[in-house]
């Protein structure tokens, strides 16, 4: 199977995006393979075919781009390689997609790695990010096409986003949510509990306004309008975003987070090492946490070392 590398998105025109890719050196006959470029408005899909199968081509110009007038919309591409006359196929990149962005340099990569490590092993907690849909099928239940507005709330079809489904599949990551002040607004129409705070998160996944954040205690947050993205040479290193706590009566609380039973039962949101004294060397938990930091050594490999 051919291996696609170095997917680049380039353009100096708002009307199109050019997608380039290379292949790793191979002894396979390239004419036995087809390339199909897939496109999505979300890094995690769903992707749909942008092109018909192509043979021996390494460049496509996407003239169907939308949302380029929006500063923050992104269009993701990936390349599917399939053997002709066969069902064998592979998608590149294997995780996520490529978009018009700078490649992180070595310093940026190291800064991002250290920040991610700090969040995963010290200050962060497990969170789930549901990227909000920005396109697709409009909700037929609550969306009024004439006024371009939602007409009601609590819509189970779009979860009050106006796009069917509302959110993409969640991404688990580590982030630090700064504990907010408990605040009750004594409004004329009644008491409103309101919490706004800040989330510190690494460089992946890239967060957008309106995304849904779920904590291990089922506290749900909506990403507010102010997002601070710290970059090095235009490459994302870490993110700091404002959050607004979602009222518990809202439809967002009915979006399921489907963890496996074992995963749910044994869920520890904070780093395990924070619950174990480091001097208790015999602790099985400590060994687990050391594995988390330095990488687990497979049992077979460990035995071969002895």
């Amino acid at each position: 199977m051919l291996k696609v590398t170095n997917i680049r998105i380039r353009s100096f025109d708002l009307g199109y995006l050019d997608i380039y890719w290379d292949i790793s050196p191979s002894f396979e006959d390239v004419l036995d393979f087809e390339f199909v470029v897939e496109k999505s408005d979300n890094e995690f899909g769903p992707y749909f075919d942008l092109t018909v199968p192509m043979i021996n081509q390494y460049h496509v110009r996407d003239t169907t781009v939308r949302g380029q007038f929006n500063y923050y919309n992104k269009i993701y591409y990936r390349v599917r390689v399939q053997r002709r006359g066969d069902s064998e196929q592979e998608v590149w990149p294997k995780v996520g997609g490529a978009h018009l962005a700078a490649l992180p340099d070595l310093a940026a990569l190291e800064m991002a790695r250290l920040n991610n490590l700090r969040l995963k092993e010290f200050s962060g907690r497990k969170i789930w990010i549901f990227p909000r849909k920005q396109s697709g099928q409009r909700c037929g239940v609550c969306w009024d096409q004439v006024s371009q507005r939602r007409t009601r709330s609590g819509c189970p079809t779009c979860h009050d986003t106006s796009w069917v489904g509302g959110y993409h599949a969640p991404v688990q990551t580590y982030g630090m949510i700064i504990s907010p002040n408990e605040q009750t607004i004594h409004a004329n129409f009644g008491d409103v509990q309101n919490e706004n705070t800040t989330l510190l998160v690494g460089n992946y996944p890239e967060i957008s306004e309106g995304d849904l954040i779920v904590e291990a205690e089922n506290i749900r947050w909506r990403v507010a309008s102010a997002l601070s993205k710290i970059k090095k040479a235009r490459a994302l290193v870490r993110q700091q975003v404002a959050l607004h706590r979602i009222p518990a009566s809202d439809i967002e609380y009915r979006i399921p987070l489907n963890l496996a039973e074992d995963e749910l039962k044994n869920l520890i949101a904070s780093p395990e090492r924070n619950y174990t004294n480091p001097q208790t060397l015999e602790s099985a938990k400590l060994s687990n946490t050391l594995d988390n930091v330095f990488g687990a050594v497979p049992v077979e490999a460990e035995q071969s070392l002895l």
Partner: protein
Amino acid sequence: MTSAVIPLLPDPIPFSVPEDCLHVATRSWLIWLQGLFRTRPSGYYRWDPSMDETEIIITDQNPDKVEKTNIRPIIATARGAATWAGTSMGQSIRHNLASPRTTYTDIIGTSMTLSIIAREGLEAQNVAYFIFRMIPVFKSSIMRLGKIHAISNNITITQESQQGALVPGSSSPEWKMVQVIIPFYIQDVITADEKDFYSLMRAVNLHMGLE
């Protein structure tokens, strides 16, 4: 019709202070609204006295520690300023120049503002318009219950509140408000024929050092 207002201390003299007409009117608006939404089918903002069952909150302004917060839609009543209209000379009627018998009466002009809060602006407007449309239908019933002299035809629906104006922080509208403003009039009457009325007047005047 009994008012929910109970004097802090029992009135020591037989002449009872007239009931709070403004509060009676406010309660009549609330009772009407609760009845109006109680008859709605489930899923269409059906009101229920139980906070666990209700699909819409209907209260007067600043409800005291409602068990559940952050629930929408909400309809909250708020009475506007009340002003004597001065529709008679000295706000009183002398029945006979030879007799001290007097009726003190005047019209009070006031308004009721219904604040409708929902997550979506159009949702708030939808509820507001339903109320707006139903007021002419139930006008006579509301007047009868609230001892209201007249409900003006100049009922207003306001524009939607700005995003983030009520509760700041969210990237989606979340809390939007549309108000219905209803001017109405109450006639308040005290007749000097009421028992011990003159005793009250005399006692107060004497306290003030007047004959």
